[in-house]
């Protein structure tokens, strides 16, 4: 995999505007009928701020869609519970990687069958993944270097044009869900290169799941609720709950609902301060999976200030990392390196960045540009329960203590993304998350040649050779241990040399009622595996 890296990054954030900030949601839906007490034992209620457009694996990219689609469609491989260290078999009972890290062979489990009883074949897999790639949705970018073929009825070969040991991880994501190609074609599904215009399956998939997963769609209302029922023909372990109701609920109401100690109910969006004061018997699982990062433009033509190393290091030393993390309440963690602690390769907590105002002041004086004001661009939204303006103001106020002058420049999300994409932004700030659960995925983006680095004017010429070498080491590491070691080395160098300052990590948290088991937050991309949830 060349510098294609990836980042699920701002997409979920943008989508969350609707939910977290704007709250177009807020439907407090429903579990049972009016009595509210029927069948709670067999029904699982999932409270979340809906961010969902489609239940088509080929188009899904939003958080709510990912949770649901993961329960409807099996993928070749998957992650077990919260463990995202290694993909485990799903539809494929085994897979093998070629030594060059470019070819992956998946052997399908002969027992695997779709909800209609027909077996899952290599043709289905190729059709589904080709369709994903050719629909050119958001996820298509992640699989664009991959090609898919069936060597026999039960064997799928995936080849990558670049070295990419993370192909199995990519194919575990909800968007890589496998459809019943026969039924899909019957209802307008197309996988050819003209799929963008030729495919007309999308809306059908909002009513009917054509997958082999543990659940089927009972109803889908984008504004209020999604109801799933267990797939009676499921070929794997039957899920504990026969019925799952996703209800669209704003965060405040999620807190209220969970405070009342419900049964068989989970909430997906509680974060930061909202987690404090919940009843202690509720189960909380979380894993810091988002990193909040400042990006400084490295080109003096864009900004003589942010490209100034002393200024950048002064800022790095001026920031009160603990204080920033505290803005997220109990779920915030001060940044050590770049990789959030949910992922392998994160630096240990002991290396957390620390404020050093004396150093900052000295460096600021030394920079010679401390008298110049620089604008900090950030999206004017609330993300994970925290207004980004608050974080930006904290940075501004910390910087001021070292004599650095920052002016805040909030922008509507569309304008923010547009501006930053243009590569002319001197100084910006945003939360970032990973495209798929492998820390290596962020390396290419942040290194010269990658999108983030290009937008920040960080070219190979400007980059420190050792850092570049460390990045290459990450890319070429074909086994996990090597990769972790390389990542840590790379991050330590990045702190010194890269035009990024990572402030803190924030967690996704799943809050579950006390009667449930297996309701674990996972950084795998689908928040929680609904089919894993059972009762104690």
């Amino acid at each position: 995999m060349t510098g294609r890296s990836s980042h699920r990054a701002l997409r979920p954030m943008a989508a969350l505007i609707a939910a977290a900030v704007v709250g177009v949601v807020g439907l407090s839906a429903c579990s049972g009928e009016d009595s509210g007490d029927n069948g709670t034992n067999s029904t699982l209620t999932v409270d979340t701020s809906f961010v969902v457009k489609s239940l088509d694996p080929g188009a899904v990219y939003e958080p709510t869609g990912n949770v649901v689609v993961h329960a409807l469609y099996d993928t070749l491989v998957t992650f077990d519970g919260a463990d995202i260290s290694k993909p485990v078999p799903a539809l494929a009972s085994a897979y093998a990687a070629s030594p060059d890290g470019r070819t992956f062979t998946f052997t399908l489990n002969p027992d695997a069958k779709f909800a209609d009883g027909s077996p899952v074949t290599a043709a289905d897999v190729v059709f589904s993944l080709d369709r994903l790639k050719n629909l050119k949705g958001s996820a298509a970018a992640i699989v664009k270097d991959l090609s898919f073929s069936a060597s026999d009825d039960k064997t799928v070969v995936v080849t990558s044009t670049v070295v990419n040991p993370n192909v199995p991880t990519i194919l575990a994501a909800p968007y890589a869900g496998i459809l019943n190609s026969k039924l899909a074609k019957e209802h307008g599904g197309q996988a050819g290169t003209d799929a963008t215009s030729a495919d007309s399956l999308g809306t059908y998939l909002n009513e009917n799941a054509l997958g082999s997963g543990p659940y089927k769609i009972e109803s889908f209302d984008v504004a209020s609720r999604i109801v799933l029922t267990a797939n009676p023909n499921y070929w794997g372990k039957k899920p504990a709950f026969g019925r799952v109701v996703f209800q669209n609920m704003d965060v405040q109401n999620q807190k209220l609902t969970m405070s009342k100690k419900p049964t068989s109910e989970i909430a997906l969006d509680l974060a930061g301060d909202q987690l404090s004061g919940l009843p202690t018997e509720l189960q909380q699982t979380s894993s810091p999976s988002t990193y909040y990062q400042l990006r400084l433009h490295a080109d003096p033509a864009i900004s003589p200030v942010t490209s100034n190393h002393d200024w950048a290091h002064a800022l790095q030393a001026a920031i009160d990392y603990q204080g920033v993390a505290a803005l997220f309440g109990s779920s915030g963690v001060p940044a050590a390196g770049i990789v959030p602690t949910a992922y392998a390769g994160a630096l240990p907590d002991s290396e957390a960045q620390k404020q050093d105002l004396a150093k900052a002041t000295a460096l600021a004086a030394q920079s010679g540009v401390a008298d110049q004001t620089v604008k900090l661009l950030y999206p004017a939204i609330t993300f994970s329960g925290v207004d980004l303006g608050t974080i930006a103001a904290k940075v501004q106020s910390d910087a001021a203590k070292a004599g650095l002058k920052i002016e805040l420049d909030p922008a509507p999300i569309a304008s923010f993304l547009d501006q930053r994409r243009g590569g002319k932004v001197a100084f910006s700030f945003s939360p970032q998350s990973l495209d798929y659960p492998s820390a290596a995925s962020i390396v290419a983006d942040l290194m010269p040649g990658g999108g983030a680095a290009t937008a920040a004017g960080w070219t190979t010429a400007k980059a420190d050779p050792a850092t570049v070498a460390a990045a290459n080491e990450v890319r070429d590491a074909l086994d996990t241990e090597k990769q972790v070691a390389a990542l840590q080395k790379w991050q330590r160098l990045m702190i010194e040399h890269a035009p990024y300052i990572t402030l803190a990590y924030n967690a996704g948290t799943v809050v579950a009622s006390s009667d449930l088991s297996g309701a674990q937050y996972t950084a795998a991309g689908w928040t929680v595996d609904i089919a894993d949830i059972g009762t104690k």
Binding site: G385, G389, A392, S397
Partner: protein, 651 residues
């Protein structure tokens, strides 16, 4: 049509509406209004001081962390700290530096933009007007929230863009107000005059039109200031206002909105907004009271309306025959004084009035406008404005009316004393059918059935000679001519068979020939219905042709009374003479009441002596010492003049 109705609704549609104020309310400044205005100014001044002296007053830097995040109010932080540990009190103090000036800027820019467009539209007229007004329609019809949000979305949230957005949503109101101000004087004479004098259109615009539209737009602008504060706070609340970390009040409220347990974060900035807006609104009301030219116009209209046209006297009706004198008069008013509430205490409008109406008699009251004629009539029905004080005695059919309670008055009205008002168009409810208006009191006061009341109504309409009475019952007043309406009003007054009918200038608004018909009808009805009539008029011709006895009113006093013929042919009082004297042959058709030099006395500003003294050709020193006593000069004549006997002697 659309234009007509939209101006009432300015840009505040989305954030909360604010009406313009009632015309009725503008007429009089309330005495306590000044204290309220002073309080409003004091609040604003206090905020202004806070804004200016913010660095001195604020205990902490409003932008820097001063304590832990979210601490409740304590001695260290009186109003607590916010999400970044900043001192809320300090932020509120600095917030005044944003809200107040920005509100002023928004209003000023909207006034300039809208005013300019309104000026151009109103002055150029034609297609320019049409297209500009369609543009205001468009902005009005466009959801202001979207307009404002797209503007801020386009350029990013900042104080400048919030101001821009709010100006864009609010200018049409000003455009409309200024345009109508311009239109109202566009056709006026002095503009034509300046055109004739060769003044170019743009100079005329600047010289004549501009100053005339300043009044209404300043009034609107002052009313809009508070609204601007609200709108700005609303945008900030949505994250579309001044950029963080600016201590904008609306944004401060937003910071606490998501977690109610941190109530202090939201509550206090709201109070800051509330007090500021309230003060601005009170101030706006005060400015409107001072400046609103429509208030002035309204009173001008009233003045104009009072200057009634006086037509020729009607054709003579039946020769007047004096009735048999009776033992007890039907109506006997003694020592009646009435004072109306005024800005500086009670205002005496009727003073020491004696008046008598016998059964079957037509008695006239004559006098200039404002002499208390109509007030006397209203006093007889207890229809004076609230707060009026009545002293003296009003005996009607042997009952003392001044001692009645509400229910008692209700029984007298309509059934005992009825009234026909001066303007027939105004006295009938325009939105209710004639039938309802003729029957409702029959049913309410006399408990008639619907059918019986309708039958009576038909009978009444027949009596006042309305053609096709049954059909008329279903019609609305506007479907009749003025004369017909007055007949209907008379029919309505007679419905409950009253003993006394007060006719307050019932023919003044009517055409001459119609007048004659109405007067003849009244006289006829009097005879047929065993009715007495108290006839109020300023028209001496009508007085002489219709009434048997007459009272001449001036400044709330009876100047002279007696048999109509005597009073008019041998006036004793200089005022009566003056009324009559403008013309050589006494009862000529061309006589007007305006011929008397000087102006009538304004209530509350009477001279200490005889009220007519300043205009009287015969005034002497003793006229100035005190009001002249009312003296009976013969069996049936009274006179209030100390000079008259001498004048009579001299003649």
């Amino acid at each position: 049509m659309t234009n007509k109705r939209i101006p009432a609704m300015p840009a505040r549609r989305w954030f909360g509406l604010r009406p313009g104020s009632p015309r009725a309310e503008r007429r009089r400044r309330r005495p306590h209004g000044r204290a309220v205005t002073a309080a409003a100014i004091a609040i604003l001044a206090a905020w202004a001081v806070v804004a200016i002296a913010a660095p001195l007053l604020a205990p902490h830097d409003p932008l820097q962390q001063a304590g832990p995040y979210y601490t409740p109010p304590s001695s260290a932080h009186w109003l607590g700290t916010d999400q970044l540990g900043r001192d809320i009190l300090s932020r509120i103090i600095y917030g005044a530096r944003l809200s107040l000036p920005l509100a002023v800027i928004i209003v000023a820019l909207a006034l300039l933009l809208g005013g300019g467009i309104g000026l151009i539209a109103g002055y150029l007229g034609k297609w320019a007007d049409e297209s500009l007004m369609r543009l205001t329609d468009l902005v009005f019809a466009f959801p202001p929230i979207i307009l404002a949000m797209v503007v801020t979305a386009a350029f990013g949230p900042s104080a400048r863009n919030a101001v821009l957005a709010l100006v864009l949503v609010s200018w049409p109101t000003y455009a409309r107000v200024v345009r109508s101000a311009v239109l109202s004087i566009r056709g006026s004479d002095f503009l034509h005059a300046s055109r004739l004098l060769g003044v170019g259109p743009w100079r005329a615009l600047v010289r004549d039109v501009l100053p005339n539209s300043v009044g209404p737009s300043v009034v609107l602008a002052s009313l809009e200031l508070g609204n601007a504060v609200l709108m700005l706070a609303s945008l900030s609340f949505l994250g579309l206002g001044p950029r963080p970390p600016a201590p904008e009040w609306g944004a401060m409220i937003a910071a606490g909105a998501s977690d109610l347990s941190k109530w202090w974060v939201s509550i206090v900035p709201g109070i800051a907004i509330l007090t500021t807006v309230l003060a601005f609104n009170l101030l706006g009301d005060a400015v409107r009271d001072w400046l609103d030219p429509t208030a002035a116009r309204a009173s001008a209209d009233r003045r104009h309306r009072d200057r009634r046209k006086v037509g020729p006297p009607p054709a003579r009706t039946q020769p007047v025959t004096a009735p048999e004198p009776q033992a007890a008069p039907l109506l006997d008013i003694r020592g009646l004084s009435v004072a109306l509430p005024g800005p500086a205490g009670p205002l005496p409008v009727i003073k020491n009035l004696d008046l008598r109406v016998d059964a079957g008699e037509i008695v006239g009251i004559a006098g200039e406008s404002g002499s208390g004629k109509s007030l006397t009539a209203l006093t007889l029905l207890n229809l004076l404005p609230p707060g009026a004080r009545v002293n003296g005695s009003i005996m009607f059919q042997g009952k003392e009316l001044t001692e009645l309670d509400a229910r008692g008055w209700q029984r007298v009205r309509g059934s005992g004393i009825a009234m026909v008002f001066q303007e027939s168009a105004a006295a009938l409810h325009p939105m209710l059918t004639v039938g309802l208006q003729l029957t409702e009191h029959l049913r309410a006061a006399q408990g008639m059935s619907k059918a019986a009341a309708r039958a009576r109504a038909v009978e009444l309409l027949d009596q006042v000679r309305i053609p096709q009475p049954r059909r008329a019952l279903r019609a609305y007043p506007h479907q009749f001519s003025g004369g017909m309406r007055q007949r209907i009003a008379i029919a309505s007054a007679l419905a409950c068979r009253p003993r006394l009918l007060i006719a307050d200038e019932p023919t003044t608004a009517l055409d001459v020939t119609v007048q004659a018909g109405i007067l003849a009808l009244l006289d006829e009805l009097r005879r047929d219905n065993d009715l007495s009539v108290l006839f109020i008029t300023h028209d001496l011709g009508v007085l002489s042709s219709l009434t048997q006895r007459a009272y001449v009113f001036y400044a709330g006093r009876v100047m002279e009374s007696g048999g109509t013929a005597e009073v008019l042919t041998q006036p004793a009082h200089p005022y009566t003479s003056a009324l009559l004297g403008a013309r050589p042959h006494g009862l000529s058709t061309e006589r007007t009441l305006r011929a008397i030099p000087g102006a009538p006395v304004v209530p509350g500003q009477e001279p200490p002596g005889c009220p007519f003294e300043p205009r009287c050709a015969y005034a002497r020193d003793e006229c100035r010492t005190g009001p002249p006593p009312v003296e009976a000069t013969s069996t049936d004549r009274t006179l209030a003049c100390v000079v008259a006997p001498d004048l009579a002697a001299a003649r």
